[in-house]
Symmetry: C3
Subunit: 138 residues, 3 copies
């Protein structure tokens, strides 16, 4: 049994979902771990993590549109000094996820056919986001 920490950056240019499945699998390949789990952890409070249908871009746009409507920028927020997209970004993060743990079987994540891992960016400006991985196994 071993523990390996990894890290990578995602450059985001505005709100939306950015697939990171390949980056995660690549780090697992390099770790040499064949059986165990990988924990994906996003080190931010204004973007988040989600699993998503990875074949239909329209489905992703619908998810993004749903969150625009559910947590609108033009509502009244007490914390409003960092831009109209700031407070909605924290709420959307709370409604989605910060960590996911995925089984690693024979060196591959045991994802369903249509399952991808996505960083969900909630801010408008360009950002460099940090994704941390821990791979535990043998």
């Amino acid at each position: 049994m071993q523990v390996q920490h990894e890290k990578f950056e995602v450059r985001t240019n505005g709100k939306g979902t950015y697939e990171i499945t390949d980056e995660v699998q690549d780090k697992i390949d390099k770790s040499g771990v064949r059986n165990g789990v990988v924990t994906i952890f996003v080190q931010h409070t204004s973007c988040s993590l989600t699993m998503m249908e990875n074949a239909a871009p329209a489905a992703r746009r619908d998810v993004e549109a749903f969150f625009e409507k559910l947590v609108p920028e033009d509502a009244t927020y007490e914390h409003d000094d960092e831009g109209s997209d700031d407070m909605p970004s924290h709420i959307r993060m709370v409604l989605t996820r910060t960590s996911e743990t995925v089984p690693v079987v024979d060196g591959k994540m045991r994802l369903g056919t249509w399952q991808g891992i996505f960083l969900f960016e909630h801010r408008r400006a360009v950002h460099r986001r940090h994704v941390s991985l821990t791979i535990i196994g043998e």
Copy 2:
């Protein structure tokens, strides 16, 4: 320390919450692991995972009704070619969970008294859903 992967199927016949606590505990019993964690992972994008009050069926119906209203089938979605329950199912999945990790202490999951683990089915049709477990411990 050891890693064990397990898998089981849940046959769902329509939207709703299906308790899987006993199936998970049964796999832990068979694994021989006494202290560690179990990660429960749902390999789908149109059903999800949730913890829930397991004693009051009315509470589960209220949760289900809330999601029907929050993510309605009769809204306008761009991705609408797989039935009116398809796009809402992806959004409800994003709003709930795909993986949970639960402590295993002396061979038992350390759940609270009223805590159960549920597969949350978001599609109307009959499905066979795959739940993947990884048990790590000693």
Copy 3:
């Protein structure tokens, strides 16, 4: 590699977010684990877990206000015999989180600068909440 279980209580006096980052880090310090992961697990169905911006109390109040509005106490629920805050508490739990897994690197949780771990209390009355930790690593 080792597994250590820990537990602590959080006394809550009404709805709101209660930071538990220091309590979690303290247990990691005492465990002696330098590299691995910590799983934080809340053993309840009427409070939950969330990551949050930890510097701006106004941001936390906005998150709390959002949930008051999204899952109102004055809606009609079938399960209504435990007080008007009971059923909304179960729904708010489903919309947030029960477990999170965080990397532990060189003895410290790899949190982002503004990232804190919070117990999100959804009930009005005073409660003693149980948080369970499992630290796996070396």
